[in-house]
Symmetry: C2
Subunit: 774 residues, 2 copies
């Protein structure tokens, strides 16, 4: 492992003396920076320590290269839109050239990675092997398919189902990989419960066959009821998903009241208890593995920071430290965009005694310090004040500003929005109402203008002022769309449907504003928005599974069901173009649009299957047009997506809420805040949220000006900081914080080998305590 | 509080000297016993300490009186079966006399309670007030209804909805009350999320109205699609429950692919995210309140045990202790059925040094000691061995015994059961197969006989040998039912349907045996069975809610929908006897049997509503026959049962599994086990489970016989003990154990006043730690 080779400290002579700061190209600094930025972003990529490799490694992690990789991954996945069965057909040659291009890019990325990683590590990593095998398989498939196509034989493009491998296996997709790992680790536990569950379904099926088979009962469609064990097993499996309740029970229930008890027992045991047990098993494993990963990450971070320290350390007195100059350069390499005032603040925190060097304990916090979003607020006057101070400070102008800052201003606009909502609900055909819409729009624009007049614009559109941005964007978009629509209307005498739809949605989204102005609701909404980013991980996970199922579905069911325009009078339209569907519930429900004829339709269909309701009708329909075995595809999808993935999603939401409930500031954050307060450059978060920012800052500013004795304050004058809201933290970050606060600062952690081999069972608490069990 | 008055210790002179054990009527002993048995059963009933009251209190807690109370509660609830609309109609006079009888019993119970409880405490308890008010209201209702009926005016029996109050408010139903308290405490948190959720549904409804309202789209039934905001809101609420997916989306989706995104967004936000948030909020509150209750219970227990100790303590040397004789008598009063050997064992554990008295620390454990089920195994020879030792010990007999004990014996029977399953699945009409059933039955009986021959019968049918009992009962029941059926068949030449059904179910239940013989499955099944008793609490909770809704439903919807026999040819049968249902999905789905015409039908209907699927069709049907506002009843039911109760159920299962995962032996259990092992009278649980009990006991027995020097062992000779499986513990017990192991033995806990005012927020961990957050 690279860190180990350098652990003895800087063994090469420094190119320059400590007083003369070394050139930024200095290899040691670059290597240390690589470690620190790895620690900062929780990366886990071992790299060679040769100068060449470190430079390449920095390039490997550069955002442009990573963005390019993602671009190619998405292009590769999107190809399914253009290949047969296509939404937008393109010739095979075009898509195959695009695919080869993507493969080349992936291969290049892999070669790049191989160059920076020690040989042994590279070949031991299954991720790399996976990518290589997939590239080779895809090429083979492309060639075979192309040659077959050339002689007019239609082959199967099976390698398309492998495309998500690229999304999963690049080091950037750690979250998705973790979810998959969590699923894989849960499988043995789930398997036994699943077998028991299947056994229970089969036992009930046998009972149903014996109880109802010979009764001569008929379903509502007039078909024989519960006469074939396989059909019964399928019906009862569907009942677990509740999709055919209560229809499946009605014939027996009509025959005899007592038979309803059979179904109620079945539902209690299989739908309620077993499904909850699945959730419990998935959730328990999710927690266990989450904890394990967090622990591994935390120790790896510590390990890398120690490696970086050992490279840069010099001996001062009895202890090893890092010189201020080197520390500055390191921070600049790791975070090139950091403002000098922010850097100054971090240095003040790290070098508390102003001794000109940073000790080990403070150095180890560097990655965390860089991770904490400190919002730098430049205290500047309102541009209008600078431009024409007399007018801006005049009494009418001050009155306007006081008005805008008043609570009543918010309330008035809440009332306006509600009136607007009523107008929207009313009929739009009335010209008066469509004129009213213009009135509302101008009122909203007036509001934004007034606010910009009152508040300093850069503070108003600060990076974390989510709702201000939201307001602004909604209104501007609505304005643009309305104007565009009016132009089109007057020019061509017809409304563009798309634009009208967008205008409508924008208008209604404005209603969200009312919710946000109520404190209780804002908290919930913020928590939900906070969960958002991690939910995108689940988006990735779901996308991977959907993509694989969609590709398989398109190969198997493509063209079997056709959708006719609703206005079509063709008799085929009633049976979705397939006579096998005559009299089926599928055709009766007008489900023809639910088909596998292109990627978009397939994804919508898979979403419907995830929602579960009526999935048996869809499964039956596709079984009718192909073969009864097609139901296995649908059952398989249910097991994978609903039993595993939806449960992991629920586990994730539960965990996120529980962590949010026990939310606390981290030690490092507290240290920064204390320092900010000490330096007198702090701004309370609440003040900013209430829109009183400028007032307070102004007040503090004048306070400061009177206190010139302190040169520290002078250095930072005109700048204010605050810790960005902790509400926007992810669950991972919060958990890692908690874990880190439990490792002693002196603790160097286990060896790297041990860290990488942590297993979830290690951290199973030896003494389950009351607090953590209930 | 009573304990406080007596805390100074026994201030009355003892009626007899410590050597002469006091008479069992001794007031102090009775009072102490009341405290100990309260602590043992986690009761929380303050009582007067006067001799009269204590005696009455023991009577109040006597099982016969409690059973009688339950009997009357059930009779009262069951009255709904006999009242209009009745399953088994009885005249109003009969049901009202029964009801008055029940009310008298409840009143009597209340008076009894008032006699033993201090006045102030009695009147401060809302439970008692609730019961009194309900009794009075019920009487008023009975009189009004009776008088109106007398002049032929049909009134509403509204007080019937209050009947579950009795079930909830008697002190015995603590678990149900806790569930209700948990719901009540969750309400404020849930409310805000719910309002936000409703706001979101309304916003989407408005959007849907604007997007789809003017398109002229038609649903599959040919009705206008999304044109009325109220209908849209209802449809979208139904979509949250997934019951009308994907039908509700199809018209828009057919019109334009992009509109599917609207529905997918809606489902992600409202179905997945909001429903998970509801679960998270309910679960979080459930945990918090569970912990609080457990803590209260644990401290109350400690408090009561200290009160009991203070009553009985005498000074020996420097410390207060309880004399052995008094301890024995106390234990005998608290647990009259305890065997003398068991008592001896407990005394050995409590009085470790054999000093003739029990010190405070050990005395406080008495309630726990009594709670631990120690199975006393009388090591007796097999009766046959005693009766005819020569034959039983002969080599053919020993061979048979060895055979039965062999693993292969189990496997052979597993195979037989599987073959039996295949035969069951085959057609029963074949006479060969119905003869085979006799063969299987005799094989099973042979198995049981062989086992009884090999194992000591009392050990084989030990209290905790669940599966042996299960086997035996299934086989005997099958035998009886089969014989009964054959008799009826040969006598009357026709099969009794009920008996045949029972035989069938019994036969198929036998298959469970195969599962249980596989270790991995047995663990899961045992956990599920373990959860069983607490699940009954939920049964109680569900019953209460169902009962209230059923009574309301019967008053509102009674007779509106009628069920005709499937063979009926009446044209009314097609519209469930109500022309308003013509062409409705309700009638088309043949849902006539789902009605509120009697209690049984109502309960089945409510179960269907709980399962959710198709509930909108039921709601629509009943809205058609009454009024659109009837839908509120169904939406209300959904909110209460699915959003609150089902989520609490899931929370409970999750919690039960997590606690089971971190399961550990309690300190007290360990102490008992150590003592049992020390005395050499232990039997490993696994040995018993594997059916090797007798072998091992024999071996140990002979080992013991050679060691006659130890008189302790002699005293207990011929007896073996083991701790009953901890797998059969409830979640509550496990959690309480964990909490207690965290209170120091010296800790006397907070004052009674403080204990009773614990609030969940007190125990919110001040320092959330990594272990308990993830």
């Amino acid at each position: 492992m690279p860190g180990a080779h350098r652990a003895a400290g800087p063994h090469r002579p420094h190119p320059s003396s400590p007083e003369e700061p070394p050139a930024p190209e200095d290899q040691d600094l670059l290597l240390a920076a690589a470690y620190v930025s790895d620690a900062q972003y929780n990366r886990n990529v071992p790299f060679e320590t040769s100068p060449q490799a470190v430079r390449l490694y920095h390039f490997y992690n550069h955002w442009t290269v990573r963005a390019a990789t993602y671009f190619f991954i998405w292009v590769d996945l999107a190809l399914a839109l253009f290949e047969e069965p296509a939404l937008f057909p393109l010739p095979f040659l075009a898509t195959s050239i695009a695919e080869v291009l993507c493969l080349t890019a992936f291969f290049g990325r892999l070669v790049h990675f191989a160059k920076v990683t020690p040989q042994m590590v590279f070949w031991k990593d299954t991720k790399n092997i996976c990518i290589m095998v997939t590239i080779v398989l895809t090429l083979i498939d492309l060639i075979t398919y192309g040659s077959l196509e050339a002689v007019n034989i239609h082959g199967v493009r099976w390698s398309r189902a492998l495309r998500p491998v690229f999304l999963i296996n690049f080091p950037e997709s750690r979250q998705i990989r973790r979810a998959f790992r969590s699923i894989r680790n849960t499988l043995p536990d789930i398997l036994y419960v699943f077998l028991l569950f299947i056994f229970s379904v089969l036992m009930f099926s046998l009972m149903a066959l014996k109880l109802f088979g010979d009764r001569g009962l008929k379903t509502v469609e007039g078909l024989p009821y519960f006469t074939n064990i396989l059909d019964i097993a399928f019906e009862l499996y569907v009942l677990v998903t509740t999709a055919n309740s209560p229809d499946v029970m009605m014939p027996a229930y009509e025959f005899n009241w007592w038979y309803s008890l059979y179904f109620i027992t079945y539902i209690i045991i299989n739908t309620y208890i077993f499904m909850s047990v699945f959730l419990a098993v998935v959730y328990n494993n999710y927690r266990k593995h989450l904890k394990n990963e967090i622990r591994t990450l935390a120790y790896l971070k510590r390990h890398k920071m120690i490696a970086a320290f050992n490279i840069l350390k010099v001996k001062v007195g009895t202890e090893f430290v890092v010189k201020e100059a080197q520390w500055r350069q390191l921070a600049k390499i790791v975070a090139p965009d950091i403002s000098s005032s922010h850097l100054e603040l971090l240095l003040r925190i790290s070098d508390e005694g102003q001794k000109g060097y940073v000790d080990k304990k403070n150095f180890l916090r560097l990655a965390d310090l860089l991770n904490i979003q400190v919002v730098t607020i430049n205290i500047k006057r309102h541009p209008l004040e600078a431009w024409m101070p007399r007018v801006y400070q005049s009494s009418p102008s001050l009155l306007v500003q006081r008005m805008v800052r008043h609570r009543i201003f918010v309330w008035v606009y809440d009332v306006i929005i509600l009136i607007n909502a009523i107008f929207i609900a009313l009929d739009e055909k009335n010209p008066l109402i469509s004129y009213a819409e213009w009135l509302f729009l101008s009122l909203y624009i007036l509001e934004i203008l007034l606010k910009l007049y009152t508040y300093e614009p850069r503070a108003y559109f600060g990076r974390k002022q989510f709702w201000n941005w939201f307001d602004m964007l909604i209104i501007i978009a609505a304005l643009v769309a309305t104007v565009a629509n009016t132009t089109i209307q007057s020019a061509r005498k017809y409304n563009s449907q798309q634009i009208l739809d967008i205008v409508l949605i924008l208008r209604i989204l404005r209603l969200l504003r009312v919710i946000v102005s109520i404190q209780r609701f804002r908290v919930i909404v913020t928590t939900l928005i906070n969960i958002g980013p991690t939910m995108l991980t689940f988006g990735g996970l779901v996308l991977v599974v959907y993509y694989v199922f969609a590709v398989i579905g398109m190969e198997v069911f493509h063209g079997k069901v056709r959708f006719f325009d609703p206005s079509s009078t063709s008799p085929d339209a009633l049976v979705c173009g397939n006579p096998a569907l005559k009299d089926s519930a599928f055709a009766r429900g007008r489900y023809c649009r639910n088909n596998f004829n292109d990627l978009a339709a397939s994804l919508v269909l898979l979403t419907e299957l995830t929602v579960v309701n009526q999935w048996h009708i869809l499964a039956d329909g596709f079984a009718l047009v192909t073969h009864q075995a097609a139901k296995l595809y649908f059952v398989g999808f249910h097991v994978v997506v609903v039993i595993l993935i939806v449960n992991i999603f629920i586990a994730f939401i539960l965990e996120a809420f529980f962590v949010a409930y026990s939310l606390e500031k981290s030690e490092v954050e507290t240290a920064i805040e204390r320092k900010i307060q000490e330096l007198g450059v702090g701004v309370q978060e609440e003040e900013v949220q209430d829109g009183k920012l400028i007032d307070n800052v102004d007040a503090k500013d004048s306070g400061l000006s009177g206190d010139d004795g302190d040169n520290k304050r002078k250095a930072l004058k005109g700048l204010y900081f605050r810790i960005a809201s902790k509400k926007y933290k992810t669950v991972d970050a919060l958990l890692q914080q908690m874990f880190e606060s439990e490792i002693a600062p002196e603790d160097e952690g286990p060896s790297l080998e041990e860290i990488l081999n942590f297993s979830p069972s290690d951290i199973h608490p030896k003494n389950p305590s009351f607090e953590n069990s209930a």
